[in-house]
Every structure is written in structure tokens, then in C-alpha cells.
């Protein structure tokens, strides 16, 4: 999956308008990156990428690019 496709998946997961996110988007600036947003990210990474996200890993995410890199 390409990075634009992963970004589109993130936007769909967080129910954001298309084009809201870029690789440089700072997660701390996103209202959607709250506890529920983090949970939906955990589910997404598990279901779509087979990757287990931990709280510590999520804490280390600064930008959308960090999530994309984790997705692999």
C-alpha cells in the first residue's frame, strides 16, 4: 500500500475530509487523535496491517509520517 493510500485509510478511519492529512500533519494538532482516535488506529493497524500497536509506540508518534512508517 502506498503512503497516499494509507493516508486515505486514516482519513476514512477518523472520518476526516479527503485531503485533511499530509505526511507532515502533527498529531497533537488533530482533535481526532484523542483516546478514541488512538483506539481506532490500534484496530486499523491490527485489522489491515497485522501490526500490534502499544501505548508506548503511540506516545512516540509525532506526525502522520510516523504512523505510515509503522504500518510498513
Amino acid at each position: 500500500m502506498t503512503n497516499p493510500e494509507k493516508i486515505a485509510l486514516l482519513e476514512e478511519t477518523w472520518e476526516l475530509d479527503e485531503g485533511t492529512l499530509t505526511e507532515d500533519t502533527v498529531l497533537a494538532d488533530l482533535d481526532e487523535f484523542d483516546s478514541m482516535g488512538k483506539l481506532s488506529l490500534i484496530v486499523l493497524c491490527d485489522d489491515e496491517f497485522g501490526k500490534k500497536l502499544t501505548g508506548e509506540t503511540i506516545k512516540a508518534f509525532q506526525t502522520v509520517k510516523d504512523i505510515l512508517d509503522f504500518m510498513g
Binding site: T13, M36, L39, V43
Partner: protein, 156 residues
């Protein structure tokens, strides 16, 4: 049951806890007085001190004290991602507000037990009390003590 509410722009979680504790018990608490169990749930180290729970969402932080295990969740009312609804919500309601309240029940129960997100079968203990008194937010506490079930919001 009193829920202490503060603005996130004014307080950190610990600062809110500290101020609320002072208001409630006229005593100060230090960060060293708090320990976490193996699941990461925070407690006061002293057995003579109450249980507590803290939550934040949107512009607000909230905390509550109780004589028994307690979980608190505050959520800004917004649409829940479908991926979360499909996986975790037990309700059949399609009303976003009802779904948020259901979510706060799940979170508060998990925080009370310190066991993460419960399944539907796990709802075997605890009393849920919810309020929408804070405009635009859903708040639910889950407690094992069956008294003091009326919620009073205290803005600090």
C-alpha cells in the same frame, strides 16, 4: 457524587487532581503519593486515601473520588469512527449521542476495573451513572459503591 471539572488550558491532569483533592479533603497530594498497578491504573499509595479516576476530552479534564473502585470517562460528543463502533459498541443505536454515551460506559467500566476495554459479558459489576449536564459532552462514572449515585459537577 461530585465530578470536578477543569479546563485543559488551565490544568494538567495532576494539577486538577491536586486542586480537587484540596477542595474535597482540605489536604494536599504529591505526585509521589500516586502509584500504578500492573495495568497502569493509578491509585493513591495510602490505603486511607480514596480511589480516584481522571479523564479528559476536548477542552475539559474531569476527576472523581470514591470510597471504592471508580472509573470516569468524559467524551466530547462527536461521531464515533465506524471501525470502533463495529468492534466495541454493544448498542444497536445509530444515534451518535447514544453511541457516545455507550462508549463512555465502556471506558468508565474498563477504567474502574483497570482491565482495558471490556466485552459485553464483562458488565457484571459496577453501577453506571451518566450526565449530559456539561454542554456538548457525555460523562459517565462507573462505581462499585451503590450510594451517592447522583452526579454533581463542580467547576474549578
Amino acid at each position: 457524587m461530585k465530578i470536578y471539572i477543569g479546563k485543559r488550558e488551565e490544568y494538567s491532569s495532576f494539577e486538577l487532581l491536586q486542586k480537587a483533592y484540596w477542595i474535597r479533603y482540605s489536604e494536599t497530594v504529591s505526585e509521589e503519593s500516586i502509584v500504578r498497578n500492573s495495568n497502569g491504573k493509578p491509585y493513591f499509595k495510602s490505603l486511607t486515601m480514596p480511589f480516584f479516576s481522571i479523564s479528559h476530552s476536548g477542552d475539559y479534564l474531569a476527576c472523581v473520588f470514591d470510597e471504592d473502585e471508580v472509573g470516569l470517562d468524559i467524551q466530547k460528543i462527536r461521531r464515533i469512527p465506524q471501525i470502533v463502533i463495529r468492534k466495541y459498541l454493544h448498542t444497536v443505536s445509530t444515534d451518535p449521542v447514544q453511541q457516545i454515551f455507550e462508549w463512555t460506559k465502556i471506558e468508565s467500566y474498563g477504567k474502574m476495573n483497570g482491565s482495558g476495554i471490556p466485552t459485553e459479558d464483562d458488565y457484571d459489576q459496577g453501577v453506571f451513572v451518566s450526565t449530559s449536564e456539561l454542554d456538548g459532552y457525555a460523562i459517565t462514572i462507573c462505581t462499585k459503591s451503590e450510594k451517592n449515585q447522583a452526579i454533581e459537577l463542580v467547576y474549578i
